[in-house]
Amino acid sequence: MAQAAVTQNQHGHIADTNTGISNRKLLMWVFLASDCLFFGSFIATYLVYRNESLVGPYPNEVLNIPVTSVSTFVLLMSSLAMVLALNYAQKDRAGLARFWLLAVAALGLVFLGFQVVEFMTFVDEGLTIHQNLFGTTFFILTGFHGLHVFVGVLWLLGMAFAHFKGALTSRSTEDLEMAGLYWHFVDIVWIVIFTVIYLIGFSDGEGIETISHATAIIGG
């Protein structure tokens, strides 16, 4: 029992900390706050260069909203699967937890598949990272998001296969919770990207300064 207590302590047992939050969870949230600025910079770059591309293809010529809506939906549902996996793990139902965990990874892979197909289609239509500002900012922003998803998938698969049974039960759900927080963050970044770049940005290239309208309305 002493052994178990020590191990728990090393994992930042909640009782040890001043805030009552385990070290790792606090670390994760600080990291996520920091990552907000990371994606914020890329999104801001995209918005600064809205309607500034000198040559096409412009967003409305290549963006495929129906397809991306499906992939957005897939990612959103993966978040649901993630939270279910964690919930079952907390209830010591390792089998169900692993099932949902694999579902998350699978949905993540489907999302990545959509993204690969999307990128290839865009390149076929002449949009590359060199082509114009839209290409540069779009590919690098969504590419970095895709990279985050990919890392998340690896992490989750690691949790599901390589990691031990203990991690999927209530005795040490924190490992899973970390992965979950990361996964949900990747999802909310996509929520912003989907709205700002796909739905709002679809009209770009025709010189509509919609964002400044939005800032005017929201700010005023």
Binding site: A2, A4, A5, V6, T7, Q8, N9, Q10, H11, G12, D16, T17, N18, T19, I21, N23, L26, L27, V30, F31, A33, S34, D35, L37, F38, G40, S41, F42, T45, V48, Y49, E52, S53, L54, I129, H130, N132, L133, G135, T136, T137, I140, F164, K165, G166, R171, S172
Partner: protein
């Protein structure tokens, strides 16, 4: 928790001496020492670079070095001093002192801490390798686009710069996360946030600033690197890209960075002044609050670096006002420091002299700062030596003096020996005189119209005398540093031990032996008030001036970890390996891409190697138990 054996491939380090023990160490004190030694070596490198620059500028029409070399040297001088000296030197003090000051046995994530150091070391080595591999970066430490593009910087230097700084950013971020968690979570029982030493407070603010500012520069550097390696268009005017965006991203990071550099020094003097005045810090809540406000307001002043870019009168006016406002909390700090000395019994030893020198020089830097917070006057001062004078008064007279104060103050804590006082006094005065000789005349130079970053200047501009004085002063500074090195060597070779608490200090780190044992605190202290340790020593002072009794805590009877024995995390090579992988992974984006057959994809093969190494390190890191079974 079930532990499944994982083929970690290498056995964990066990010896506590020798080279391997340093590579595998996760002890915050050892890592702090590594940071300190590395930063000091880079201080010498950056100093030599500065001396060459000053030698070139000592006289008009000088052709001692080529303009190309001059540009490389001033770029690397700035980059080195900011990223490889002041930041890691602050990190050295963070590492050493935060756990000791808050009564913890280590930082929250010891292995992550080791990872931060090694990543910093590898990144800095990679950055400096550029001198030998085709030319150092020569576009300035601020790297303004589009001079950094392939068109105008065709060599590899700027790519080295962008990728090197990205690596350093990873190191800083990991360290910052670690310190935020450590400070928030690992305080001794009873040490509320408003009972923390000011140094810990400033470390917290600094770490939060790093955590939030570093991602921005990382993105800017990634964009720059992609522009150079993959021909993207982020800062390419030919495709409609706007070089001003770089300036926004850079200074959005760069201004918080200024506070990242100065706040640790402010924290240090907030510790030394009360100790050597034998008085509590005057207005502790105000000093803490001012530091936090500086940290917050520092986010909304960045465009004052861009007053001459032509952002328009509205933006200039708004940023002028916000910039002036930030002088208020800074002033509050200075007034509180002076009030701390007021009515005290000042012990004017070297550490105290450096602290007072910090205040004196920082006031000058702050006042010259106000004059370019005003865009119309800044229009004449921007990009001149006046600015060079200003920020050296803030960052040399400020940050470096503060770090020296901390060095002299904590040296006995870290090594168990006091640095020589006589040499120390010489060191301070030579440094102070040299510093003012070097950077004082630069005020005149700037107002006399001498732009920054010029490799040479014409005769007859009225700049000769001031430049000659500045160059002579720089030699004096070098002499001062030499005295410091001699002092270190003499101290190390001497046998005279210092007491555990030679300064009659106030904070928890002095309550344990010097140098501290590996486990820091045999008993975790129990804290009841600010400066708890001081009141344990001076129970007669338990009544403050309002007549309220200040409580003093007793150490916690039992160790928190089970069994009553102290448990320390085991050493590990994996942070080192992971750092190596990360650095190689980033460095792989240098000009060594191979084309994937049949496609037009440029594949950074070296990055793949780095990723493999990094993954191996991560796997080992994850599956290696924190400590050996039965190790306690």
């Amino acid at each position: 928790m079930t532990t499944i054996a994982f083929p970690t491939l290498i056995s964990r380090p066990t010896s506590y001496t020798g080279l391997w023990s340093w590579i595998g160490t996760v002890d915050h004190k050892r890592i702090g020492t590594l940071y300190g030694v590395t930063a000091f070596l880079y201080f010498l490198v950056g100093g030599v670079e500065a001396l060459i620059l000053r030698a070139q500028l000592a006289q008009a029409e000088s052709d001692l070095i080529s303009p190309e070399l001059f540009n490389e040297l001033f770029t690397m001088h700035g980059t080195t001093m900011v990223f490889l000296v002041v930041m890691p030197m602050s990190a050295a003090f963070f590492n050493w002192m935060i756990p000791l000051m808050i009564g913890a046995r280590d930082v929250a994530f010891p292995r992550l801490n080791a990872f931060s150091y090694w990543t910093f070391l590898f990144g800095s080595i990679f950055l400096n390798l550029s001198f030998f591999l085709g030319g150092a970066p020569d576009a300035g430490w601020f790297g303004y686009a589009n001079l950094t593009g392939n068109t105008y910087s065709p060599g590899d230097g700027v790519t080295f710069w962008a990728l090197g700084l990205t690596t350093l950013g990873v190191a800083s971020l990991a360290a910052a996360f670690n310190f935020v968690v450590t400070i928030l979570n690992m305080r001794a029982p009873g040490m509320g946030l408003m009972k923390m030493p000011v140094f810990v407070w400033m470390s917290l603010v600094t770490s939060i600033l790093i955590a939030l500012a570093m991602p921005i520069i990382a993105v800017a550097l990634i964009q720059l690197a992609l522009d150079r390696v993959w021909d993207t268009n982020f800062f390419n005017p030919a495709a409609g890209g706007d070089p001003v965006l770089w300036q926004h991203l850079f200074w959005l990071f760069g201004h918080p960075e200024v506070y990242i550099l100065i706040l640790p020094a402010m924290g240090i003097v907030s510790e030394t002044l009360p100790v050597f005045s034998k008085k509590p810090l005057f207005g502790y809540p105000a000093v803490v609050l001012a530091g936090a406000i500086i940290g917050f307001m520092g986010w909304f002043v960045w465009s004052h670096h861009m007053f001459t870019v032509g952002l328009g009168p509205a933006a200039n006016a708004a940023f002028a006002v916000s910039t002036m406002l930030i002088a208020v909390p800074t002033g509050v700090k200075i007034f509180n420091w002076i009030a701390t000395t007021w009515g005290g019994k000042l012990q004017l030893n070297t550490s105290m002299l450096f602290s007072l020198g910090f205040i004196a020089m920082f006031i000058i830097g702050g006042l010259s700062g106000v004059s370019h917070a005003s865009p119309p006057t800044d229009a004449q001062q921007q990009d001149t030596y006046y600015i060079v004078a200003h920020f050296h008064y803030v960052l040399f007279g400020g940050a470096i003096f503060g770090l020296f104060a901390g060095g002299y103050y904590w040296w006995p804590k870290m090594t168990g020996k006091k640095l020589g006082e006589a040499l120390g006094q010489w060191h301070f005065w030579v440094m102070l005189v040299g510093f003012n000789l070097t950077f004082g005349p630069m005020h005149w130079l700037g107002l006399n119209g001498m732009p920054r970053r010029i490799a040479t200047y014409a005769d007859g501009m009225g700049w000769e005398m001031s430049n000659a004085i500045a160059s002579a002063g720089s030699m004096l500074i070098a002499f001062g540093v030499l005295l410091f090195i001699i002092n270190i060597i003499r101290t190390i070779s001497s046998t005279q031990e210092s007491e555990d608490d030679p300064w009659d200090a106030r904070t928890l780190e002095w309550s344990i032996p010097s140098p501290p044992p590996a486990y820091n605190f045999a008993r975790i202290p129990q804290v009841k008030s600010l400066d708890d340790f001081w009141y344990t020593k001076h129970p007669d002072l338990l009544h403050d001036e309002r007549g309220e009794e200040i409580e003093v805590g007793e150490p916690v009877e039992n160790d928190t970890h089970g069994g009553g024995s102290i448990h320390l995390p085991g050493m590990s090579y994996y942070p080192f390996i992971t750092s190596l992988g990360v650095t190689i992974g980033v460095a792989g984006f240098m000009d060594i891409l191979v084309e994937v057959p049949g496609t037009n994809i440029q594949f950074p093969w070296l990055s793949a190697v780095g990723i493999v190494i990094g993954l191996w390190g991560l796997m080992g890191w994850t599956f290696e138990p924190v400590s050996e079974e039965g190790g306690h």
